[in-house]
Symmetry: C2
Subunit: 160 residues, 2 copies
C-alpha cells in the first residue's frame, strides 16, 4: 500500500492530487485506505469463499461472546436484515449455528461450529497478510499506533 506497488502489480501513481486539501480530510483518508484494504482483504478471503462481511460475522461468532444478531448489526454498523443474509449463508455452509437466546427468546445467538473455527483460522492468516500489505508503508510501531488511535477515536481511552 504505498505509491508504486500493491500485490506486486503497479496500481496507483503518487498522484498530483495528493496536494489538494482533501488529503487532510479524515473521511477521505479513511475511505481511501479502507477502499485499498478492501480490495486486498477480499482478494485474500476469496480463497475461502468469504468476503470482509462474512469474515467479520464469523469472527464474532467464534469469539466466545455469543453475540446476538442485533448486537452484530450494531457492532458492524450493518442493517439487521443484512446480518440475516450473512448468517443464513454461513449457516447453510455449516460454519455457524443459530441458537435461541437464553435470556431472550426473541434473540438468536450465533456461534461458530468447529468447521467454522477451522476455516476462520486459515482465513485469519490470509487476512493478516493482507493487512500487513496495506500497512507496509508503516514500521510496526506506527502500525500499532495507528490502530490504537482508531480504537481510541471509536471507543475512548479506557477500552481495548
Amino acid at each position: 500500500m504505498t505509491i508504486e506497488t500493491q500485490g506486486g502489480q503497479r496500481t496507483e501513481q503518487a498522484h498530483k492530487l495528493v496536494a489538494a486539501s482533501i488529503s487532510q480530510d479524515l473521511g477521505f483518508l479513511l475511505a481511501k485506505l479502507h477502499a485499498a484494504g478492501s480490495v486486498l482483504n477480499n482478494r485474500a478471503l476469496a480463497e475461502f469463499d468469504l468476503k470482509e462481511r462474512s469474515y467479520s460475522v464469523l469472527i464474532l461468532a467464534n469469539s466466545g461472546l455469543e453475540p446476538t444478531q442485533r448486537e452484530m448489526a450494531d457492532f458492524l454498523s450493518l442493517d439487521p436484515s443484512q446480518i440475516v443474509a450473512l448468517v443464513d449463508e454461513l449457516e447453510k455452509r455449516g460454519l455457524v449455528a443459530r441458537a435461541p437466546g437464553k435470556l431472550d427468546r426473541r434473540a438468536k445467538t450465533v456461534t461458530a461450529t468447529a468447521k467454522g473455527g477451522k476455516l476462520l483460522q486459515r482465513a485469519g492468516d490470509a487476512a493478516r497478510r493482507a493487512e500487513a500489505e496495506v500497512l507496509e508503508g508503516l514500521p510496526a510501531e506506527e502500525s500499532a499506533q495507528l490502530k490504537a488511535l482508531l480504537r481510541k477515536a471509536l471507543w475512548g481511552a479506557g477500552l481495548p
Copy 2:
C-alpha cells in the same frame, strides 16, 4: 464519536463485542470509523445539497490543480462513470465547469466556478465541524497523528 454521545443523541453503547478480536483488525476499524463519520459528514453537508462524494469532487475542482475526470476517479477510488454523474450534477448547478484538456483533447478538466468556491467555503466549515465531532475522543495532537499515519500508509513517508 465516543461511546455515549454523537451529535447530542445517544447512539451506540460501549459494546460487549469490543472484546472480540476483530477490534484489532485494521479493515474493521477503518470501516467503522468511516461509517460513523459518513453519517455526520453527510448530515453536515445536506444543508448545502452535497454529499461526501460531490463534496470531494468540488474540493478537487477548486484545488487549482485542474484535475481531469480520470485523475479524480483514480484519486477518489471511484469508477470513471461515477465521476461523470457527479460532475454532471455539479455542473448543472453551476458549481463547476468542464473544459477540454489543454494537452489532451480527450480529457476534460473540471474547475470550480466562483459560486462553487463560495459554497465550498461554507460546506467546508460544516465538514470540519463534523470531523471534529468524530475526533472528539482524541486530543488535538493525536488527531493530527492519526491523520499523518493514514497519509503515510497511503502515500509513504515523503509526501504531504
